[in-house]
C-alpha cells in the first residue's frame, strides 16, 4: 500500500495528516515525532503553561484520525532520497512513497560550553521546567524581546514577578516596525516591565545560569533567566540529502521541495526574491503550509497564496496582523483610537500587498485581509 511519511510531529504534521485524510487519501500515513508526545499545541506555552496559569492539558490537540500511525520519540538522522527511505537514530529505515518534512525548529541557546541551567520556551518540557520554578521566583530576566520573549515577559508580569527584558534591539521593532512596536512597548512599560537595550549583545552569567552580562548595563541577576532568542530549523538530518537547504529547507509556493517531497512549518524557508530566503515561523504558516503540502502531494495542484497572518497577545494588547513584516512608517487610523489601545490600522501600498492590524478591535480576519489589500474601510468592526 502506498505510504506517506511525515517526519516531525507538531502542528504542521498534524495538519498535513488531517488534510490528507480529509482529501480522501486512504493509503497509510505515519508521523515520526522526535518528542515523546503526540502532536500538541505550543501556543499556550508562553501564554500560561510557563506560569502554571494554564494546565498542561491546554496544549492537547483534538485526536488525529485513528488510522494515522504516530510514532513518538523517533529522531530522523538522514534522508536517503534514492532509496525513498528515512533513517532513524537507531539505524532503522522507514520507507515512503510520499514525504512531508516538518521537523520544526529548536530553540537557539546562548549558554557557553558546560554552562548549565539555561531556560528556553519551545517544548512542553521547557515550559514545565519554568513553571516548576516560578513559585519560588520574585525576579526574572528575559533575554530576547521578540514575540516570544515579550509574551513570556507579559505572562510573568501578570503573575506578579519583577521582570526585565534585555535585547540588542528595541523590543519588537525589527518585527513590527517602529510605530506598532512603540504602542506595545508603552503598554508593557506601563504594566511594570523593565526594558534594557544592550547593542553589544547579552551573555548568560553564572553556572548554573543566574543572570546576564552586558557591556552597557553590567551584570544583572534574577531568580529566573529565560532565553527567547529565536529558533533554528531542524535540518541537520537533511545535510547529505541533496535537498536545497538555505537556513531551512527551501519550498516553493506549493510547499514542494523535490518530486514526491514537500515541507511545511518552522523548518521551511521560501525564496522571496532571488537569493533572499525568508522564514515565517508562525502557527498560521505551519497550518497553511501543512494543508498546502498535503494537497501538493496528492493533487500536484497549484496553491493560491494567502496573505500572511499572525497575532500576538501581551500586556493587555490583543493584536492581529496581516501583511509582510515589518510594517514601516505611520499607519492610517481607520477606526478607534491608538491612545486608548483600541484601533484598526492600515499601512497602504500602491500594490495589493499593504498591511493592516487590529489592536483590541474585533474584526473578522477576512475583512482585515481585505483592508490590507486596499479595500475600503470595513463595516461591522468594533472595539
Amino acid at each position: 500500500m502506498p505510504h506517506i511519511l511525515i517526519v516531525g510531529g507538531s502542528i504542521a504534521a498534524a495538519t498535513a495528516a488531517g488534510t490528507l485524510r480529509a482529501d480522501g487519501w486512504d493509503g497509510a500515513i505515519t508521523i515520526l515525532g522526535e518528542e515523546e508526545h503526540p502532536p500538541y499545541s505550543r501556543v499556550p506555552l508562553s501564554k500560561g503553561v510557563i506560569a502554571g496559569l494554564l494546565p498542561v492539558a491546554a496544549t492537547e490537540l483534538p485526536p488525529l484520525p485513528g488510522d494515522v500511525e504516530v510514532r513518538t520519540g523517533q529522531r530522523a538522522v538522514a534522508l536517503h532520497g534514492e532509496l525513498r527511505a528515512v533513517e532513524l537514530a537507531d539505524g532503522s529505515r522507514v520507507p515512503y512513497d510520499g514525504l512531508v518534512i516538518s521537523t520544526g525548529a529548536s530553540a537557539r541557546r546562548l549558554a557557553g560550553a558546560g554552562q548549565q541551567g539555561e531556560l528556553v520556551v519551545r517544548t512542553l518540557e521547557d515550559a514545565e521546567a519554568i513553571a516548576a520554578r516560578v513559585g519560588e521566583a520574585r525576579t526574572a530576566i528575559i533575554v530576547g524581546a521578540g514575540f516570544l520573549g515579550m509574551e513570556v515577559a507579559s505572562t510573568l508580569v501578570r503573575l506578579g514577578l519583577d521582570v526585565t527584558v534585555v535585547d540588542r534591539d528595541p523590543p519588537l521593532q525589527r518585527l513590527l516596525g517602529t510605530y506598532l512596536a512603540g504602542v506595545l512597548v508603552a503598554a508593557a512599560v506601563e504594566s511594570g516591565l523593565r526594558v534594557l537595550i544592550a547593542p553589544d549583545g547579552v551573555a548568560l552569567a553564572g553556572n548554573p545560569v543566574s543572570g546576564v552580562s552586558t557591556r552597557e548595563h553590567g551584570e544583572l541577576s534574577a531568580d529566573l533567566v529565560v532565553s527567547a532568542v529565536g529558533d533554528l530549523p531542524n535540518v541537520e538530518w537533511l545535510r547529505t540529502s541533496g535537498l536545497p537547504v538555505q537556513g531551512g529547507v527551501v519550498i516553493d509556493s506549493r510547499c514542494a521541495v523535490a518530486p514526491d517531497i514537500v515541507a511545511a512549518g518552522d523548518v521551511t524557508v521560501q525564496e522571496l526574491v532571488p537569493g533572499v530566503f525568508r522564514r515565517s515561523p508562525h502557527w498560521t504558516s505551519a497550518v497553511n503550509q501543512g494543508r498546502v503540502a498535503a494537497r501538493t502531494l496528492l493533487h500536484a495542484e497549484s496553491a493560491s497564496p494567502t496573505a500572511s497572518y499572525f497575532w500576538t497577545e501581551q500586556f493587555g494588547c490583543d493584536v492581529k496582523l496581516v501583511g509582510e513584516l515589518p510594517f514601516d512608517g505611520e499607519p492610517r487610523v481607520v477606526d478607534g483610537d491608538v491612545t486608548k489601545r483600541s484601533a484598526l490600522l492600515h499601512w497602504p501600498r500602491d500594490d495589493d500587498f499593504g498591511a493592516a492590524a487590529s489592536l483590541n478591535y474585533r474584526l473578522p480576519i477576512v475583512k482585515l485581509k481585505a483592508l490590507a489589500a486596499g479595500a475600503a474601510a470595513p463595516a461591522g468592526g468594533h472595539p
Binding site: 497550518v287 494543508r291 494567502t306 480576519i365
Partner: protein, 64 residues
Amino acid sequence: MGVEIVINKAACEGHGLCELTAPQVYGLDEEGQAVLKQPVNESNQAAAEAGARVCPVAAIEIRR
C-alpha cells in the same frame, strides 16, 4: 462512528484557521465568530476534525 462538533463561542477569537483548513465545514459570521456551515456527517468528518485541530485557542471540540 458519528461525531459532534461543538464550537465554544466564548473561546473563539476569530483567527479563522478552521475556515482556512476546512472551508466546506466552517465559516466566520459577521462578528468574526466561527460557525458550522453544514452538519457533520461521514463525508465531511475528516475535514471537520482537521479544522478543529488547527484552532490556536482550542475552541472547537470533537465529541465522539
